[in-house]
């Protein structure tokens, strides 16, 4: 056994251990901390699997924003912990669940072991058509050109989720500011961090987006970093979350999918089909869509984490 494969087994074992803890922990807060750690370690696995684009997403979502979302909810719901814990399902249900889960895991594992050899792959097709877009990152090519429909609909899903979150506001608060108004000591550590980190983070976010055309990175990864910086500023009380009825905000929110859709429809006229880019303009068109999407993603993710409107306008 080589050093490298021992390392892989160790990594898999640690990840499995954290996953077990996340399920088994008695306190929800402890379980969520376990889940955040799991996200961090998963980024290592994705790098090992040579999927650096996915590792970036996992680091940004699993280790970063997902942790904020779940830790916040765990802290707010702490008081409900004891009563619900008494509703433990009966032993029969638990044994049944364990058997079912074991069967599903075994089926998946068998599937992994019996994967066909040689593995079917679309990599040669992706490589052969890379010249059509002029982008060097195959994953960006797939996301923005070969399977662009998926990516466009994914952005729509993000928007729908945001509309769903907003619709949870009580009627009288509709259109107000999401989440509580955060206040922090303006001379304290958090406010200092929120003034120091965002300029750096915005540069890193734009870099990750821009490098995504030829190297791992892209609109979603960059947008997540931007969203995190916005969230930091909101949490430190330096800027309030905008009213969800604000027109400017809504324009930013629909800019990404809107431009994507417009370019897609224009594909009928200038290309040959929906979302067909004319080869000569493919690269600038894709970059234009990505710029708009980065902004939309940053705004959508930031507002998704801020939550449903809880204060009416001006409060």
């Amino acid at each position: 056994m080589t050093v490298a494969s021992a390392l892989e087994m160790a990594l898999a074992a640690v990840v499995l251990g954290v996953a077990t803890w996340t399920i088994a922990a008695r306190e929800t807060f402890a379980a969520v901390v376990g889940f955040v750690t799991y996200g961090l370690l998963l980024a290592l696995i994705w790098v090992r699997l040579d999927a650096v684009d996915v590792a970036l997403v996992e680091a940004a979502i699993g280790g970063g924003l997902g942790g904020v979302l779940l830790l916040g909810a765990a802290a707010r719901l702490r008081v409900t912990e004891t009563p619900t814990a008494t509703e433990r399902p009966s032993a029969t249900v638990r044994v049944g669940a364990a058997l079912l889960s074991a069967a599903v895991a075994a089926a998946l594992a068998t599937g992994v072991i019996l994967l066909p050899d040689p593995a079917p792959t679309l990599a040669p097709a992706a490589a052969a058509n890379a010249t059509a877009t002029g982008l060097g990152n195959p994953v960006t090519n797939v996301l923005m050109a070969f399977r662009a429909m998926d990516t466009m609909l994914e952005k729509v899903v993000l928007l729908l989720a945001l509309v769903g979150v907003w619709s949870l506001a009580p009627d009288r608060l509709w259109g107000g500011h999401p989440g509580p108004r955060h206040r922090a000591d303006p001379l304290g550590t958090l406010a200092f961090l929120a003034r120091l980190l965002p300029p750096v983070g915005i540069v890193v976010g734009i870099y990750v987006f821009w490098t995504g055309k030829d190297h791992p990175g892209g609109a979603f990864q960059g947008g997540t970093i931007l969203a995190a910086m916005w969230l930091l500023v909101m949490m430190a009380g330096i800027a309030d979350a905008p009213q969800v009825s604000s027109r400017r905000l809504r324009i930013v929110l629909i800019a990404g999918p809107g431009i994507f859709l417009a370019v897609g429809l224009a594909g009928f006229a200038i290309g040959s089909a929906f979302l067909a880019y004319p080869v000569a303009y493919a690269k600038p068109l894709i970059l234009g869509i990505e710029v708009a999407m980065t902004l939309t993603i940053a705004a959508t993710l930031g507002l998704l984490l801020a939550g449903a409107p809880e204060r009416s306008a001006g409060q």
Binding site: G188, T189, F192
Partner: protein, 106 residues
């Protein structure tokens, strides 16, 4: 030349690994939250710092080396601040107005 560079790398990374060991042992063995935080910050700053220092000569390009240093600087900055915040949270001083400013007095 290359051998000298490799020796620097090995020494620095080994030292970095040692600080991770120290930080972890401290996190596990120290008796209370604040002393454990003390152990943690050593691993944060020195452990990662020495590993980065060891990797910089291997980076192969100026750009790669600078990016490595950026990672360390960011981790240093964010880690130091968050340790502050956790410490305040742990020691329960957040409600005490006298302890709230850590910058110079206005």
């Amino acid at each position: 030349m290359s051998v000298a560079v490799d020796i620097i790398t090995i020494v620095a990374i080994t030292a970095g690994a040692f600080f991770f060991l120290a930080g972890t042992v401290g996190l596990l063995r120290f008796p209370d939250t604040l002393t454990r935080l003390h152990a943690l910050t050593k691993a944060d700053n020195l452990g990662l710092g020495l590993v980065v220092l060891g990797l910089v000569p291997q980076a192969g390009s100026l750009r790669g080396g600078l990016k490595l240093l950026c990672v360390w600087a960011l981790a240093l900055l964010a880690g130091a601040m968050v340790s502050q915040l956790i410490a305040r949270e742990a020691s329960g001083q957040r409600g005490d107005p006298a302890m709230r400013h850590d910058g110079p007095p206005p």
